[in-house]
Symmetry: C2
Subunit: 297 residues, 2 copies
Amino acid sequence: MSDLQDYFSRCAAVTEKWLDERLKSGSSFSDGLTQAMRYSVFAGGKRLRPALMFASFEIFSDDFLAAVPYAASIEVLHTYSLIHDDLPAMDDDDLRRGRPTNHKVFGEAEAILAGDALLTKAFEFASDRDNTPGVTDAVRVKAVHALALAAGDRGMVAGQFADIKAESSGADCETVDFIHLNKTAALIRYSVSMGAILAGRGYEDERRLDAFGKNLGVAFQITDDILDLTSDTATLGKNAGSDLENGKATYPAVYGMEKSAEKAAELVKEAVELIRPYGGKGGRLAEIAYFITERKS
Amino acid sequence: MSDLQDYFSRCAAVTEKWLDERLKSGSSFSDGLTQAMRYSVFAGGKRLRPALMFASFEIFSDDFLAAVPYAASIEVLHTYSLIHDDLPAMDDDDLRRGRPTNHKVFGEAEAILAGDALLTKAFEFASDRDNTPGVTDAVRVKAVHALALAAGDRGMVAGQFADIKAESSGADCETVDFIHLNKTAALIRYSVSMGAILAGRGYEDERRLDAFGKNLGVAFQITDDILDLTSDTATLGKNAGSDLENGKATYPAVYGMEKSAEKAAELVKEAVELIRPYGGKGGRLAEIAYFITERKS
């Protein structure tokens, strides 16, 4: 296993252990809800957002474990977005991470509610004083607010809305840029800048990491678009070619394949330049940035 | 207009003005999302939860306006829950507050996203430092955390989940109690206890108001169940008799009509006893409590 794979595994393991201990049913009446939430949370994702948050936080701090509740928070929020995106009224996907999607297993109403509960859970975790002993209330408030801005109607949900609309109306470059920036990059920006927020750093570091995350998020989505066209279902764990089939607004569709790959590489290069001032401390983040465009699934 | 109606109007007016200024589209790509969010937020509800929060806060403080952002926060969260409850996969309702439901006007995907955005917005408002200048970060963190607990998988969403499940499996007293306590009472408890949290009061006041809100929330839902059976569609603004039609777990269905009305009255009486120590300062809250079982819609 490469050193980076090992880092991903370590980030995933601590995040999953923390989540496993806390995603418990409160009553026999809601056991099925907890089951639906856990099904998608523990579906074996890459845990990219937690890894980005850990790597960013580690630029400023040795206290790796302090970031765990926030890593768990962003991961459950990301999971909610996948569950709702897969719904019949949205992308109507049957397969996610190689397994049937949430609504296929538990039903549509249950999947909507599992998503709602996970979105709410993200804010519960981010505001939980008992589980974040070394953190100030000022940091907790900033974390919650930044997360809400990234996830809401001027962030991820706006991107998803534009994505759905573009299916019927067709897409141009401006539309695709808006979708990528909001649907995907918003949460990645939050994940990376959260490292600086949690470390109590000022505006300059937050801005720098936010800009890094912006580039990375767009590069990530362009790579996703490319993989949807070039990879196969078994490798992706979701239906390959589904973007084309659904008339999705993708980067290759409006910019062409060659320009898309160039753009992703250029964005990553720029991003890595941005964190050069951190020297070796930023090495892990840079490694993840390169991984993002080179991955096969 | 009675004094209480006047109070409701005043609470609604400040909350709606605040919301009107803040629920704006961030981009032409998400105009339709903002439109869908605003459609349901400005559908002319009673604003009961804001009124409860204001009345509770005014026991301890004269600074009425300080509660507005939190009143707005609970109202958008409540609105999200109505939009998602009405979805075809859930209760499949066509009518809400006398108007077509959100998904009927904007489409199902749009309604899911409008709900997601409003849920997220509730946490954005509750953690917004710029709009809550006199409030400490400690209070903001407590508010966000209490809201997340009330709204999530051990609160409102758990109640909604049990409600959906009871439609197919039938209901007994225990099930109905669980549903009412979580689906409806959880947010009302939060709204009332938030008065004490915002005023920076200690555990005792929070607990007392939480207990008041618990009784009131259950009484509110019992009254809703009764009205669904005894009122008509025009008065309710939603389809009368739909609980029976949908095989809903209601209080009258398992306890009988007479016992339901008795129970609601008893819960309100107990609640009013709980806030007796506040004397005249608690008068408004008591008035709202009586209104809850006496209302006609």
